[in-house]
């Protein structure tokens, strides 16, 4: 069967969202909040396994957001960093580093360890890319802590995080690289994108070819509430550079693209030997649940451009990359994942891959 896996996040249960607010207001203790996180992880894994998905995640239930989970709670951050404007007008602000040294507070392996306690199938672990976190460093610099020092620390932290996840038996470690298309908006000359690629490759090069077989990259134009931050940037701006990343698996947003065939043609043109493409067959921003037949047809369409032995399926994006995002329900997310799994099975049968 074609491999199929989720991107990462699932909307948090209402009880958990309320619990986080209670904790911030001092109404419940850290211990009580931890219990809520634990219950959410356990429930999410149980329900993800029930969809039949051969690979699962923890739904990022305990993460503050896909981008800031490792640094949330650090006392050398200020909330007024780089703004990320979304198409519907809302803005998320990245934090800003105010002093060195830089260390992760909660690396991804901490979340993986918790997930593995409840999982009965392989667990995939998402990590935020070094390029995303490179935006933490302020443009004006930090006295006594150079950008080079910061980037060096960042790479070391991320290498450690990924290596520990691999050692703990993560099915695959996925580097979330949603700022790829965004970088074109920030700098249409694409030099920023090139720096992002170079930086992430500095991390990836620390792993052997064998280890990199279990490292993937996810790209999408962001998904928060009902909106994206860079869907208006043409994929043609990103794809040639994307596959220069020294990873083997690429989870590529596709379902929500207006012209999927054009994107598939570009993927076929630029993908490199040994790289597997997990095409997005589910659009998390679309409130309607796709049917397995729709998913099947999207996969068959993709197989016209990508050989089945280099094809896999995934969701376009996580269903709630930011923990406070309530624009989708858990039920919808699980239904959509169920459709992905069923549709992938249908397509696999037709492609003779059962």
């Amino acid at each position: 069967m074609l491999p199929t896996e989720p991107v990462g996040s699932i909307p948090r249960p209402a009880a958990l969202i309320a619990g986080v607010q209670d904790f911030q207001a001092g109404r419940i203790s850290q211990r009580e909040l931890s219990a809520l996180y634990d219950a959410a992880v356990q429930d999410t894994i149980q329900r993800l396994e029930a969809t039949g998905s051969p690979v699962i995640t923890d739904g990022e239930q305990a993460k503050h957001s896909f981008a800031t989970y490792s640094i949330h709670g650090l006392d050398n951050l200020s909330p007024d960093g780089v703004p990320i404007p979304f198409a519907d007008g809302h803005i998320r602000h990245f934090p800003r580093l105010i002093s060195g040294p830089f260390r992760y507070k909660t690396p991804a392996d901490v979340y993986l360890e918790a997930a593995q306690r409840y999982a009965h199938v392989p667990v995939k672990q998402a990590v935020v890319s070094a390029s995303a976190l490179s935006l933490l460093y302020p443009q004006g610099g930090i006295r006594g802590y150079s950008r080079e020092e910061y980037l060096d620390a960042l790479i070391t932290e991320q290498e450690g995080e990924i290596r520990r996840c691999l050692e703990m038996g993560a099915h695959v470690v996925q580097m979330d690289f949603t700022e790829g298309r965004l970088s074109i908006k920030l700098d249409p000359s694409r030099r920023l994108l090139q720096s992002f690629i170079d930086l992430n490759n500095l991390v990836l090069e620390r792993f052997s070819a064998e280890e990199r077989k279990r490292i993937g990259v996810h790209t999408c134009p962001g998904a928060d509430r009902h909106s994206t931050h860079s869907a208006d940037v043409d994929y043609a701006e990103l794809l040639p550079s994307l596959f220069a990343l020294k990873a083997n698996n690429f989870c590529v947003q596709l379902a929500s693209e207006p012209d999927r065939k054009r994107v598939l043609r570009m993927i076929r043109e630029h993908v490199r030997d040994g790289q597997r493409i997990f095409v997005g067959v589910i659009d998390p921003l679309d409130p309607r649940v796709e049917t397995p037949e729709e998913v099947r047809d999207r996969i068959l369409e993709a197989s016209d451009y990508i050989a089945p032995d280099r094809l896999g399926t995934t969701d376009d994006c996580g269903f709630a990359p930011f923990s406070d995002d309530t624009s989708r329900t858990r039920e919808t997310a699980f239904d959509k994942i169920r459709a992905r799994v069923a549709g992938t099975a249908l397509a696999s049968r037709l492609l003779g891959l059962e």
Binding site: Q139, S146, E148, S189, S195, D198, L202, E205
Partner: protein
Amino acid sequence: MPEQGEVRDAILDRLNRRLRTLCQCTSTFLQVESEQELLQSLCEILVAGGDCRLAWIGYCEDDADKTIRPVAQAGSGLDYVERVKTSWGEMEAGQGPAGMAARTGQACCVDDIRTDTRFSPWRAAALAGGYASCIAVPLIARGKKGGAVDLRGTLNLYSAEYKAFDESAIEHYTGLATSLAYAVTALRGHLADDLASGVTALRARAERKRSEEALHQAREELARVTRVTTLGELAASIAHEVNQPLAAIVADANACLHWLDADPPPFDSIREALAGVVNDGNRAGEVIARIRALVTRSSVAHGPCDLGGVVRDVLVLVGPELGRHGTVLHTFLATGLPPIMGDRVQLQQVLLNLLLNAAEAVRDVPPERRRVVVRSTLEQREDGPWAVVAVEDAGVGFREEQAARLFEAFYTTKPDGLGMGLSISRSIIDGHRGRLWATANPGHGATFQFALPPMR
């Protein structure tokens, strides 16, 4: 005909609008946080200023069609920008104002879209959008180093009036585009350049580390090959060393077979012979184990190391070789040498090399000078007791002018030598924070010795 006063007022009004536009643009240049925001804001300000109906900015691509890619637009008829294709190449699509401006670096004006033949490919779409004249001004910035073009694009404005862009307008918008290009460069400088310089520095560091590791591996491999070569020189002696216990084992085993025929068998003798078999087997095994360690090991493993044991191990290997050539070996080994921090195999290699050099140095001298002395001593220094191992011979020695080059790579006084042994030995001892040196003996021959610091 308008009155003179009306003309003056119109000019004043136009100049005021331009001044307001300039002030707004300058303020935007200072406030925006991204390039996209800057470009978009500028287009919006220009349209709001009232001098144009549509404003768009295009960046020049280096693709086959030399496309001018719209990156920001504002005003009436935005679909016009999406519909028309412009280029900065020499083909027809590059002959319009945008293509000309990008290619020549000069502003290009179309006073009447209805009649200007350069505008033919886009005329219908432009007239449908309500545009009567247009101007394209180059947006060009050069990189900090070497003057390479860092940004190439055009600012394009469309008016509903004919001849809307006179000389003063061209000057105004050209100046604005120049400022815009500077602002773009400055913004990119903050984002892309800062990150790129950090990444470049880290990349250089990673490459340096990789090179150092490769060099280190090459050195270790060279050392291993040298060890194997050295052992080749000992092949005859080693064969003898292994053969001797094997012969004894065969003899003892035969004796046992013979004794087993007796009734009753002499069990005490059999037991004694079998004990001999075990001892000789162990002896042969130890020789082979020592050789295997020297041949197969390629990575350095520093740890607490008994230098006395190192010396004894090497003497077991080299002693027979010296004897084979009639060389007498004297040993004066200090008891209670402190343990040092080091790599056992590497230190064995150094001593092996010094001893074989000494053996060769005495091979062709009169028999009474065919002697080699190995001495280990303890030397008190400020940081504690250092262990010193010296190999002294009465052989051919070296001349004063040769002394400085003895430890150079590829320097050799032997006709068939590679000249690597002493060079590698010195790098090994340096790697142990020790010292290896040579002195000419007062009479004959030379003394090579190395000193190693105590373990911390």
